[in-house]
Symmetry: C2
Subunit: 455 residues, 2 copies
């Protein structure tokens, strides 16, 4: 395949795709992606990270067209997309494209929902644009993964901006040349470092990708031109940010192979790589009981190498840091049976019992162990031992959350913020994205105290 027209061919696909050419199962996964994203954005909406960003953005907001999820403040669409991207990611509870560890909905759905209140679009158009956006970011991510990620780029930010630009550009009806410019403007704003993991700035990345991608689409619409080869040029994005570049991942089987349909949803509020450990430790607790696990002397985890690389913090001090400690996560799963957002609070990581338990947990990595698997050996104080193997952790592609597990996850996150009734109404609306439900009405239904009729 020609490597000289990657941006042009991708732009043409984004512009030309007919809604009816998106297979039903792909649309269905798109709905699940949206439901999961919305629950996470509600769940994260009161986080201190969101408060801090809002303190800055409130006075810089223009026409307040758009909802800040689950808050009474309204902001312009660009600023709202930034905040909602932060909310949806701050609990590390969002979706994951497992091939690249991209969290697809954060950059894309955060931008699109904010945009939908500025530029009205049908529910069906919304879903198509969201699917296109997540498809584009995952394909662009595939083209440079793993080298790009290994180098230190937070791929949700760097690839996400393309997804937002594609989704927003599609939704506002850019032509093919404008779409090339939008992708070029996305390429030149692509950013986000893994060094920020464990700080508030990590969740800034999907927010910034949402805002910058929307800005790219709006600038292109206004005639602000850019390179028409932003992805593949000799000094284009892929060459600058990665040693690996496989453009077949971007253009191959477009419209037939759907990366967006490979999305997965986390049952636990932390990086996907420690889900097998949490899943296994919870099962051990379920089987043997709280009293028995309290008498554990030593735990040995055998995991994929990425587990220690990403979550090797042995002494986390804050809840955010706790998400990057397989030791804390395993200890909390054993002692509390918990992998929810409450497992990753400042309180939890400083709990003396958990601190004592995490010191008893030892990790050995093994390149032969798949990233959705773990092997756990437990040694009790009385000399007995047991072994537990997880082949496919809950939430992985081979063991995905069911719709009703997605409901449970949504309700658990939203109930304390919206109350039971509003949570139930919002959840029902969210499942109707792509069908009957006006996206702008969904956005407004996240705000406590705002009454809105279903459209």
């Amino acid at each position: 395949m020609s490597q000289t027209e990657v941006t042009a061919e991708l732009a043409r696909w984004i512009v030309d795709l007919r809604e009816n050419d998106v297979p039903p199962e792909v649309r269905r996964e798109g709905v699940r992606t949206f439901v999961n994203w919305l629950g996470c954005a509600v769940g994260g909406s009161k986080h201190e990270t969101v408060d801090a960003a809002l303190r800055v953005l409130e006075s810089f907001s223009g026409t307040r067209s758009s909802t800040v999820i689950a808050r009474t403040t309204r902001l312009d669409a660009l600023s709202a997309s930034l905040i909602n991207g932060i909310s949806s990611h701050v609990l590390d509870f969002d979706d994951t494209h497992l091939k690249t560890i991209i969290h697809p909905a954060g950059p894309v759905s955060s931008a699109l929902l904010a945009l939908a209140e500025l530029r009205p679009m049908s529910s069906r158009e919304f879903l198509t644009a969201q699917i296109i956006g997540t498809e584009v970011e995952c394909r662009i991510g595939n083209s440079v993964y793993p080298d790009h990620y290994d180098r230190g780029w937070h791929i949700t930010g760097t690839a996400g901006v393309f997804g937002s630009a594609a989704a927003c550009g599609r939704a506002i009806g850019l032509g093919p040349r404008q779409m090339q410019w939008a992708l070029g403007l996305a390429a030149t704003q692509s950013s986000g470092l893994r060094e920020m993991f464990g700080t508030m700035t990590k969740s800034f990345h999907p927010g910034a990708a949402a805002r910058n991608g929307m800005m790219a689409a709006l600038l292109a619409e206004a005639g602000f031109d850019s390179s028409e080869h932003g992805i593949e040029a000799r000094r284009g994005w892929a060459n600058v940010v990665s040693d690996k570049r496989d453009y077949g991942e971007i253009l191959g089987e477009l419209g037939r192979r759907w990366e967006s349909a490979l999305n997965s949803y986390k049952p636990f509020a932390c990086g996907i790589v420690i889900h097998p450990a949490i899943d296994g430790c919870r099962k051990i607790r379920d089987e043997f009981g709280a009293d028995r696990v309290a008498s554990i002397d030593r735990v040995e985890l055998a995991t994929a190498p990425l587990v220690l690389e990403l979550t090797g913090k042995t002494s986390p001090k804050t809840g955010l840091e706790g998400k990057f400690s397989v030791f804390h996560a395993a200890a909390c799963a054993l002692l509390r049976g918990d992998g929810s957002p409450e497992a990753f609070t400042d309180e939890a990581v400083n709990d003396p019992g958990l601190v004592a338990m995490r010191a008893r947990i030892h990790v050995r990595t093994d390149a032969a162990i798949h990233e959705d698997s773990v092997s756990i050996k437990v040694f009790f104080e009385d000399g007995t031992r047991l072994e537990k193997r997880i082949d496919h952790a809950v939430g992985s592609r081979d063991n995905p959350l069911t719709d009703s597990q997605l409901d449970e996850k949504f309700i658990k996150q939203a109930r304390s913020i919206l109350g039971d009734d509003r949570t139930r109404i919002l959840l029902a609306k969210a499942w109707r994205i792509g069908a009957s439900e006006n996206p702008a009405a969904i956005a407004r239904a996240t705000v406590p105290g705002v009454e809105e009729k279903s459209s």
Copy 2:
């Protein structure tokens, strides 16, 4: 020197530097930097690139605290910094730190002046913050140049965001830890690709760097935390974006060696690397006359290698592309004696006489030739020939623009936009930055029809 505390040590210097410790000659160069930047921002203020960006940003602007240079529209400080960064760079007429080809004032002065209308600061504080910002971006640029630039990064964007964050952070009084966060937030937003050269998006880079750096400082002030080792961490900025990393360039002789005082100012409205060719061709025209140069059969330029790498376009179609064609620039200097913004219009690059002349220009690169030098051989139709050598092009460090040449450049750019009287008043105000002149009053004095008393 320890490589583990680069961000911390730099942050402490930014916060602790006393105004009186900035040497007078460094302050003087800071004033010249500001005057040159302001003239360029006025000169570029009516460009179609600015119009296009403004069409998008107007409805997204919050509290309209800040002046858009030389326009009646006002915007919030973040949006104004973005537009003013575009205006100051769009004619490629701005300043250059020759070691790195960073254009220092675009990201820094654009942010600071917009901020000064939101958060009042004295003229002296403004100048100190500007000097700190340009110092920081040039030092960070030095630490990764040339590998980072060779890889394809537009260093004015990627390093500029640190300069803006440092300047804005200093101006709003961040403490040392907040300043580390601001630098981390800058690191994670660092972006901009050379692939965009020749399009409107090139000038988006200093604008985005200005806006993103200001956002970094404001977020840090609001308690939005970030890595405290954003520059030097294993997966921090420098390791991710460059194979070369020399932290001695960042921390060495801080406060004694001043990179900001090495700034230079362009006499011609295009990339600095083709200035020697323009300077030489103009001198040939001056010496031999317009009639004689019209009979040129062939021109041979011997230049530094970067000249062809950056400006090797043989058939530019637009004025913007013309800035990246040493062939066009040399032809225009020979036939029109012109290197001003008028030399780089769509009209000029499509002028049949210039098109014919540029086909007669041939370039040979030689690594032994310094970037401020050129050797020119001219062959006339009658068989005669001449040779011209430029050792230090006008505007280079060894042949800098004088204050009165800066005045001429300012007046030439501003007069057609502001008229003679207002241009003269504005220029006088600009030279008083750092002394008596309120920065916010300078910003307002760029706007036609707005009357403002000097403070």
